[in-house]
């Protein structure tokens, strides 16, 4: 059976498509996981990672062993046991310690800038890279075209010289007439 040859480009495109599909599926799955699907411990652990320790250097209460972080962890568990939702618990801490208590600020109002900026920066950077690459490609194509033209011209010139030489219109470069050769030999 003859081996099927698949072009590399097709394989790459298919791999990217599968990867994108996988990422999309994971995103959808993550979005579908509701608070109710988690045990109280899982919810507490999730919240611990979403809340910053107010007196620590960039640590969430999950990472910190400061006493205030321990107190906050305890309060998170008490509030879950009291039946409060994750949003209510987050709001409780924001009211006391400000928005900085959230590891990831709420995606609303002015904070939307923080969420959108990476996409804008990434998109802008990608566009710039695309533009530069496109320019480089165009310049390189232009150079190649010019270069090819020159090459063709040179080859044509050589060809015409050869034709002229063959029909005796001009002397081929490097070729010597019999007279010249004899003169040289006589002088030696």
């Amino acid at each position: 059976m003859p081996m099927r040859i698949v072009p590399d480009r097709f394989v790459t495109t298919r791999a990217i498509a599968w990867l994108a599909l996988g990422v999309l599926a994971l995103t959808v799955f993550a979005a579908c996981v509701q608070e109710d699907d988690l045990t109280p411990d899982q919810r507490a652990y999730t919240l611990d990672r979403e809340l910053m320790c107010p007196v620590c250097d960039g640590q969430t209460i999950d990472q910190s062993h400061a006493q205030i972080a321990e107190d906050m962890k305890r309060v998170v568990r008490e509030k879950i046991a009291e039946g409060e939702s994750n949003q209510e618990i987050r709001d409780y801490f924001v009211a006391r310690y400000g928005e900085v208590v959230l590891a990831a600020p709420e995606a609303s109002g002015f904070n939307l800038i923080i969420w959108l900026m990476p996409a804008v920066i990434g998109g802008g950077g990608a566009l710039a890279v695309f533009w530069v690459l496109k320019n480089m490609r165009r310049n390189s194509a232009q150079y190649a075209a010019t270069h090819r033209e020159t090459l063709e011209d040179r080859q044509l010139k050589q060809y015409l010289e050869k034709v002229d030489s063959d029909i005796g219109l001009i002397q081929a470069p490097g070729a010597e007439t019999g007279q010249q050769a004899g003169r040289k030999g006589g002088s030696d």
Binding site: E70, D71, M72, G98, M136, N139
Partner: protein, 194 residues
Amino acid sequence: MTQRRAIAVGVGIPLILLASLLAWGVAQTGGTQGRPGVNDSFGEVSLTVEPDADFELTTIGGDVVSLEQLRGKVVLVDFWSSWCAPCRAEGPILAEAYKEWRDRGVEFVGIAIWDEAGPVEDFIERNGIEYVNGLDNGRIAVDWGVRGIPEKFFVTADGEVVKKIAGPNTEATLSRILEELTDEALGIRTSAAR
């Protein structure tokens, strides 16, 4: 647009945006991140609690005290700890101030946080502290948005939390605040303490 210019735009603008984001983040924290939970310097800070906040504190003696019970008095709520240096320096000042102010309708409540009963009782006894004190059950400090110690909240006779002070008081700063609040309670001056 030349290629060099395109690179400058493509790299420069994202870098400027990232730097702006970083600067904004630093500004947002107000420089408060990284403090180890002890307030060394004195200053008024923004309130982190509802004006009608309350608590139920089990005192060292075993009683339960709340702000509701103290309605009609100006109340100073002090969050402290026996191991915190500024709190230790402030202890004698508070003990003396209470003796002066209790007859003028002011009540002090000490809430020891991140501490244990033994050292707390020892500190109270050594400094002759006569106002009620108790150990936090781990909830009051968070409910009141305490970031470090010492921190004080001042409550009007109407039960409204109006002021939060971080760091240790001197006799003078404490007297000034309590005078403002008691004057207001007596109708001598209104809204001066807010």
